[in-house]
Symmetry: C2
Subunit: 334 residues, 2 copies
DNA sequence: CTGAAAGCGCTTACAG
DNA sequence: CTGAAAGCGCTTACAG
C-alpha cells in the first residue's frame, strides 16, 4: 500500500502539483470547482499529507508543543486534566499535541525549533522568563497557563485570587476568625495569587489577621505545618490550602483529638479524587483544569490561524461545600 | 540568528555535505579525525539538525504516538503515570511523544499514517483487534500495554493475575474466608487477569469460594456493590478491588455501623493519592505504572532501532499494608 | 574513506 | 486562476 502523494493526485487529476497543493490547503487562488474536485479525489484516495515535507517547505506542521517539566514525582493530577482538555480541542481543530519534557538544562526554545512546533502551550511554572524571551525572539506563538498576567502575552488563568477570597469569606461567614492558609511555594504565580486573595479577604472580613505557612504540596508537609500551628496558644480554627496539604492537616487535627468541623474547619483546593471520601468529607474548590487546557489550546490555535484573540482569560472555580466546613462555628470559651 | 545547516558546515569545513552528514550521524564510513573535526565545528557553531528535513530524507520522524482514548471523564490518574514514564525514556533516546486522541469512530491506523509516527504506544483498552490488525498491515511498530499477552506481539503488562492472588492470599491469611472482589468491566484484559488470579487463589486458599461483582471504577459504584453484598446473610468480611471502588465500599461499611478492619477488611488496587488518608488508611497494591510506560517506550525504541527485544514483559506490584487489613480477623459468633 | 547527484513531498514566489 | 521551476535541509545509493 503505497502512500499517496501530491504528485499522484496531480497526475490523476490532470492538474499541476501547485494546484493540487492549493486545493488541499483550501487556498482561494483556485476556482471552487477545481478545488472541490481535487479535494474529493484526495479523500477517495485516502491522501495524507506528509508533515515532514510540509514543514520543510516552510509551512505548518499541525503540531503543538505541550511543555512538561521533568519532575521526580508523578505529574500532578491536575496537569493531566489540562492535558486532556488541550488535546481534545486540538484534535477538533486538526492539531496534535507533542509532549516536550523539559528540565533546567534544556533551552526550551531550541527544543521547539528542533521539533518544528507550530506553537507551544506552557503549563509549567518552572519555565523561566529567559526561555520565554527566547521563544518570542524566535516568533513562535505560545500561550502561558496559570502564570503572571502580562498585557503583552497570551495567558490563560484560573482566578486563584478569587478562589482564596471565596474560601476565606466562606470560612469567616461560618464564624471563623483565625483562618490559616497553607501555601505552596511562593515563587509560583498560582500561590502568589492565592496569597493575594487571602490577604484581601482577610482585610475585608477578619480585620487583617493572617496566618500563612509555606511548604510544598505533600500530605506530609500539610501534617507538619498544621501540627506546628496547632501548638500555638490561640491556634487557627480553620485551614485551607491545596487538597493534599489539607489532608495532612486533617491527620494532624485528628491526632490531637480535635474534631472537624466542630473544633477546626477545613477547605481544600483542587477537589482531587477521594478528597470527598476523607472523614469527614472535605470541602474543596473545584477548578476547571480541563477547561483551562481547552481555552489555552483554543487561543493558541486562533493565533496560529492569524486571528485576533483576547490576551487574558480568567476562569472561575466552584466551591464544593462538604462536612468539613459546613457547620456554623462557635468558639468555645475555655 | 540564522540557522546553521549541514551546507554551512560543509562550506566552512571544506568537506562535502555527505561527509558532514556522516560525521553528524556518527557513521563509520568516515575517518575518525575528520569526524571529530566536523563534530567539533558543529558544536562550536551550535548546529541543530532540522528534524523535518531529516525525516523527509530518512523516513524517520523521531515521534512516537501515544494513544489516548477519548473519555468523558478525566484521564485515570494511572494513565498520566504511564505517560510520564514513557515520555522520560523517549526523551532520553531522542524521541518525543505525540498524543493521539482516539474514539470509536477513528481509524487509528489512518491517524498514525497521517502523523508519520515512527511507532505507537497503545495503553488504551478500547483499541479493537481490527485496528491493531490495521497497524500490522501498515508495518507500523507498536507496543501494547496491559493487554492480552500474545506471542506474536509486543506487550508490556502489570502482573495483575499475581496482584489478585497476593491480595486474596493476604486476606485469607489474616483469617478471612469470605472475600469479595469488586471488579471493573470484564471486557478489559486487566480485569480478566485480576479475576483469574482471584479464582486461582480462591481455589488454593478458600476452597473455591467466590464472590464477585462487576461495575465500573467509581466510588459510587463501589458503594452500591458493597451495600448489596453487605445485605447478604453471610456477607463478606473482606473486599478488594480498585481504590475508588474500595473507597465507596468503605462508605457503605461505615454507614452500616460496621468497623474496618475489625468487622470488614479492605484492600485497594493502584494506591492512588489519598487512599492512605482515608479513615482507616486503606491497604493497597502499588503498581509501577511509570515503569510500565518506561518499559513500553524502551521496548518500542528498541524495535525502531531494529534491535531484538523480548516480546512479553511482566511487572510486579507491591502490596502496601495499612490499617484496613492489618488486623488478625476473628469471625464473631453471634 | 569521500564526493557528485538525486530525491524525500511539499509550498511558494514568479510568470502568464 | 494555473503551471513551470526552485528549494526547504537532509540522507542515501552510487561511483570512485
Amino acid at each position: 500500500m503505497k502512500k499517496v502523494t501530491v504528485n499522484d493526485l496531480a497526475k490523476i487529476s490532470g492538474y499541476s502539483q501547485p494546484t493540487v497543493s492549493r486545493a488541499l490547503n483550501d487556498s482561494n487562488l483556485i476556482s471552487v470547482e477545481v478545488k472541490q474536485k481535487i479535494q474529493e479525489l484526495a479523500k477517495k484516495m485516502n491522501y495524507r499529507p506528509n508533515i515532514a515535507a510540509r514543514s520543510l517547505a516552510g509551512q505548518k506542521t499541525g503540531i503543538i508543543g505541550f511543555y512538561i517539566f521533568q519532575m521526580e514525582h508523578a505529574m500532578h493530577p491536575t496537569l493531566s486534566q489540562v492535558l486532556q482538555g488541550a488535546t481534545r480541542v486540538a484534535a477538533e481543530e486538526g492539531y496534535n499535541l507533542l509532549l516536550v519534557l523539559t528540565d533546567e538544562d534544556t533551552n526550551k526554545g531550541e527544543v521547539a525549533a528542533r521539533n518544528y512546533l507550530d506553537g507551544i502551550l506552557i503549563p509549567t511554572q518552572e519555565t523561566t522568563e529567559e526561555e520565554i524571551k527566547f521563544l518570542e525572539s524566535q516568533n513562535i506563538p505560545f500561550v502561558l497557563l496559570n502564570r503572571e498576567p502580562d498585557e503583552k502575552r497570551y495567558v490563560v488563568n484560573i482566578d486563584y485570587e478569587k478562589v482564596a477570597m471565596d474560601i476565606t469569606e466562606h470560612l469567616s461567614q461560618a464564624g471563623h476568625r483565625r483562618i490559616a492558609y497553607l501555601s505552596g511555594p511562593e515563587d509560583f504565580w498560582i500561590n502568589r495569587a492565592l496569597l493575594k486573595g487571602y490577604r484581601k479577604a482577610s482585610e475585608q472580613f477578619l480585620g487583617g489577621l493572617q496566618c500563612i505557612r509555606f511548604g510544598d504540596w505533600s500530605e506530609e508537609e500539610g501534617y507538619k505545618l498544621a501540627s506546628e500551628l496547632l501548638e500555638l496558644p490561640n491556634h487557627p480554627t480553620a485551614f485551607f490550602g491545596e487538597d493534599f496539604l489539607i489532608a495532612g492537616a486533617l491527620r494532624a487535627i485528628k491526632e490531637r483529638g480535635l474534631r472537624v468541623p466542630k473544633d477546626v474547619a477545613l477547605v481544600g483546593i483542587n477537589d482531587v479524587p477521594l478528597i470527598s471520601s476523607l472523614d469527614p468529607p472535605i470541602s474543596s474548590m473545584r477548578l476547571p483544569m480541563d477547561k483551562l487546557g481547552e481555552e489555552a489550546a483554543g487561543l493558541l490555535i486562533k493565533l496560529l490561524s492569524g486571528k485576533k484573540a483576547k490576551k487574558q482569560v480568567l476562569l472561575p472555580g466552584e466551591l464544593i461545600i462538604r462536612e468539613s466546613s459546613k457547620q456554623e462555628f462557635q468558639e468555645e470559651v475555655s
